[in-house]
């Protein structure tokens, strides 16, 4: 799936890593699968991202992930709000400075709240109306 990034669609195709599959760049990988082959992932030349699942405990994230350039937060369904708390904890308590990406069931009307807890980029389908998604980010402009 592409990402809405810095107000534009990044059409680079990201996929979700499966255990049987090859460790490769432009993949989202679960924490468990990452831990199984962390050195292989770290050796890759190109972007990859661990996905924090709603059930994950952030204290289990190894230190190197907290300085990794990207980290994804999964929203399995848009009504599951645990990812918002994870984003906030990552930004503040864990002092995560890299790019936070929302993946999963990410919808136009939720991205404003996601941005306000510190999420930068949003998994989306290739045909979204970019101007409309950007508008969603400023509909409640004065909410902080």
């Amino acid at each position: 799936m592409p990402l809405l990034r810095n107000g534009e669609i990044d059409h680079t195709v990201w996929s979700h890593h499966s255990l049987e599959g090859k460790v490769d760049t432009h993949q989202f990988v679960t924490l468990q699968d990452y831990l199984a082959q962390s050195q292989t992932w770290q050796a890759l030349d190109g972007p990859w991202t661990v996905e924090v699942q709603p059930d994950d405990d952030l204290d289990d994230l190894p230190k190197e992930l907290l300085t990794h350039q990207h980290l994804a937060i999964v929203f399995p369904v848009f009504t599951d709000g645990r990812g918002y708390s994870h984003a906030r904890q990552l930004r503040h308590f864990y002092d995560y400075k890299g790019e936070l990406i929302a993946t999963g069931d990410v919808r136009r009307d939720q991205i404003d709240f996601m941005a306000r807890v510190g999420i930068d980029s949003f998994e989306c389908s290739a045909d979204v109306d970019v101007a409309d998604w950007n508008k969603a980010l400023i509909e409640l402009r004065v909410a902080s």
Binding site: T79, G81, R82, S85, H86, H92, F93, E139, L140
Partner: protein
Amino acid sequence: MYQYQSVDRALVQQRVDQFRDQLNRFNAGELGEDEFKQLRLRNGVYVQLHAPMLRVAIPYGLLSSQQLRTLAGVGSKWDRGFGHMTTRQNMQFNWIEMDNIPDVLQTLADVDMHAIQTSGNCIRNVTTDPLAGAAGDEFEDPRPWCEYIRQWANFHPEFNWLPRKFKIAVSGASKDRAAVAVHDIGLRIFHNDEGEVRFRVLVGGGLGRTPHIAQVLHESLPPEHLLSYLEATIRVYNLAGRRDNIYKARIKILVNAIGIDSFRDQVNAEWAKSRAFAPAWEPERVQQIQADFAVDLPARTGELNLAEIKNISFKGWLSQNTQPHKQAGYTVVSVSLKSPRRPAGDITSEQMQALADLADQHSQGEIRATHDQNLVLAHVPTEELENLYEALHAVDLAEANIGTLADMIICPGMDYCSLANASSIAIWDQINARFTNLDYLHDLGDIKIRVSGCMNACAHHHVADIGVLGVEKKGIEWYQLTLGGHSGDGARIGKRLGPAVAKSDVAQTVDDVLAVYLAQREQEESFVETLDRIGISAFQEKIYATAA
């Protein structure tokens, strides 16, 4: 009352525009049913049996006369000429067309009102004591704190998708009139030995299918930590609350599953981690909000001597529907929405208009909503009471039944609600028809009857002296009674009387319960005191012997 700042006004306007756009996209097929449902819920829009229902927030239960006139206008223009007061200081409209809702929200926004977060799994309207600022037993006016919490809770980015709805109530007096112990979080404000403001934080109260009384989470929280502590508490719930079963998703289930001590440990651990990045304490902002709520009443000396009053109906109303004000020369007036001629809690647009005028003439232009589905004029000069009574009586708002058995709390039931098993309004009519003698009601004293049409317990039947719950068995309505519940200080859940009774027997059963109480009560004993002394079996013997 609190004056909207430009930021509040801009936000509410943006929210109206946002909802109008969401509805347009839904109508155009660009927004799915599942997603639109969640978006409309967060704007107070339910789809009920006959039509969408709009739940309008009345923050801290306080309305200006202008706002009440606007609600009257909404009722006559878009509904069927009335509105309905809920037990959580909201007003509901039951007959609004979906396509009109953006215009209704715009009309409300124009007088600083909204329906934001009045439903959905987010932090709901913060409720409080309807006598705030007027009661003599108050330590601190709770409304500025409600507003402080509201500013934090509305559009809180982290807590818009909680496992389930989240209700907060605040009480600032020695007597709890906000039912804080049956809320997800209840806050009791008090003064410590140094005279400083402190909050006793209760957590995990709630009714519904699994009723629980809240437990103490923090005994004495200083105000500078209020928001950071609420954030830590709700974050623990957001991450650990169950999401697999809607009936086990409230915070009360989590607290009771792991125990209050373990829950407190988790909150404290989260608080230690997160308090540094919680919203900063801004005492100046709180002081500004407090200044907005302060009402400066001119000194008055008017008094009434009950013994000298000749007008019997005025006298009855005075003794039942008024309470002392903290300032001499003023009286707190309850406006009964429990006329037997209308469903409990309903108020017509004409009545709203008349009441708005009376509030301007007699009570600083403000009206309060209560948890008992009534309204209050809080600052009435005592010398104006008789004129006010006559004016209220003329519009059928002076039924002298506040606190009596006739002051029942009733959910909308099958007449409106798609969840209900039972017709609460028919039960209301049945009980009203049986108990018409006001002298008898006054003799019974303060007895609460609450009728819920289903397990969701919207009328909070568990905390009534006599609770009535509609249940369905093989397509037939039955009614289960509970006795001895209470929602204020010493809150407790009522006990089941026994097998459910037939619909036609509800009023008779209530009558039988009251007969046992009247026969057994000693001196000034309340219903609960008699029940505790003689036990529920004394009631069961009478009821089920009669039935057999």
